[in-house]
Symmetry: C2
Subunit: 281 residues, 2 copies
């Protein structure tokens, strides 16, 4: 299974191609419009698994009614070229009609971890994420699945779901890939105008400034949040939606950092919503 | 894998034993206290699959607060003997702590099909059923899974869940097994006193009388429900909870039967709640 990449669209095509994979299978779920962050997940999967499946599906159920589903960037031709070059065995590109046929009525929900942060800003988002990821797991039956630390809460939610639903799947979370100026790679960066793109590194600058304070022994969570706010308020194109300093495992907001913490934020640059995070400790 | 039956308790024991199964796998989920109805599912699985896994787990999340979880009958020793005789490869007997560890927070829900009938009488029941069956599917990765027609709505809900969540699993629903006097086999029959046991065949007699009317061309659903009520009202030990004449696929109540219909009922005999059903057309 290394010469030619199989492109599966229907479930039967995927099941059929999956049957012939003869070793550990790594799955990399994506919404396409692939960048180096995605490719780093594929490379990690290639290193750890004999076979790699990548799914490309812009999942409608994880977008809110006022979000960017219809505008979400797509470039299937380029995605397939990148994945073929990366040595992927199977690319699965289902349609919405295949994933959510008429009469569809089943949902997978993680209750507690989905409440704060992205969950509070994007109602229903994580129900869409856990449902589609569960479907991808069921259909592709991987041994390992790869997600980016950029979506930190998503990674935590999927780890919880995987454990709770007894999947024999190891969740591998890979580090954030950044542009030279620190902006976390994201398909949504393409929405930014030239001027907005120049302002966008402020997210990572704010996180890094707080990280420096943490490394200088600041353990008061509210003071670290304030550092983030101060850096962001100096950038007129940026509008902070939330900044969080939370326990890494439970995502509960902290007063004082004692163990590992997740410092994360969501920022609007114009109409584009960007998220980023950094791990403390 | 035919000489000796493996008994797995933890997830790791199951995953490990599962790895060595080298052909199609059939799964028979049970709550134990096995009767001939269960064994008929195992036999069907043995005929169709090279390997058979049976799970025994009295799933707490599908019992309501006022239901019979703590009294539910158990006989593990006899169950294991029956399954070994039936040629089962793996018996999986997890504990509640394994299936629902501290911090557990993930649920699988089927929305529409779970609303009427058993769903309306037993709030939360089907959420517990679909969650545990999904966990069994994930952990055992079967090719086919076997359920009894006795729990007709459960079979419909699991078929829907399996399709919706993209499981590459075929759901096989096997006919109801009955005692000589017509009573549908059920672990709960053991709750009945001698007198109650003598009254219990009234469920099947009521369904059969309505079936005779259907075979004599009665297509008015309300008239068929009335036939059931009339037969039941003649049995002083029986108290009808509901009788339904619904579309076989959607479980929506019918006025007139045109296609395949499900005639089903729930009856209390003393404190014991029994269900039964018959397919019309």
């Amino acid at each position: 299974m290394s010469e030619s990449m199989i492109i599966a669209s229907t479930l039967d095509e995927l099941y059929h191609a999956r049957q012939y994979l003869d070793g550990p299978v790594g799955l990399v779920p994506t919404m396409g419009y692939l960048h180096n962050g995605h490719i780093s997940l594929v490379r990690q999967a290639k290193m750890e698994c004999k076979n790699v499946i990548v799914s490309i599906f812009v999942n409608p159920t994880q977008f809110g009614p006022n979000e960017d589903l219809s505008n979400y960037p797509r470039n299937m031709e380029q995605d397939l070229r990148l994945l073929e070059n990366a040595g992927v065995d199977i690319v699965w590109t289902p349609t919405s009609e295949i994933m959510y046929p008429p009469g569809y009525q089943t949902w997978v929900e993680v209750e507690t971890l989905t409440k704060p942060l992205e969950g509070s800003m994007r109602p229903g988002h994580f129900r869409g994420v856990t449902t589609i990821v569960s479907k991808l797991f069921n259909a592709a039956r991987p041994d390992k699945a790869y997600f980016g630390q950029k979506d930190a809460q998503q990674a935590a939610v999927i780890r919880q779901m995987t454990r709770d639903l007894s999947y024999p799947i190891e969740i591998v979370v890979c580090p954030i890939l950044r542009e030279a100026d620190g902006l976390a790679m994201s398909s949504r960066n393409t929405y930014l105008s030239v001027e907005q793109r120049q302002a966008a590194p402020v997210l990572f600058r704010a996180l890094s400034t707080a990280k420096t304070a943490f490394d200088d022994r600041e353990r008061n969570a509210e003071k670290l949040r304030q550092v983030v706010k101060d850096v962001l308020s100096a950038e007129p194109l940026a509008r902070l939606q939330y900044v969080s300093c939370a326990d890494y495992d439970t995502l509960e907001e902290l007063d004082v950092i004692t163990g590992r913490a997740l410092l994360s934020l969501a920022v609007f640059i114009g109409k584009t919503r960007l998220i980023d995070n950094i791990i403390l400790g």
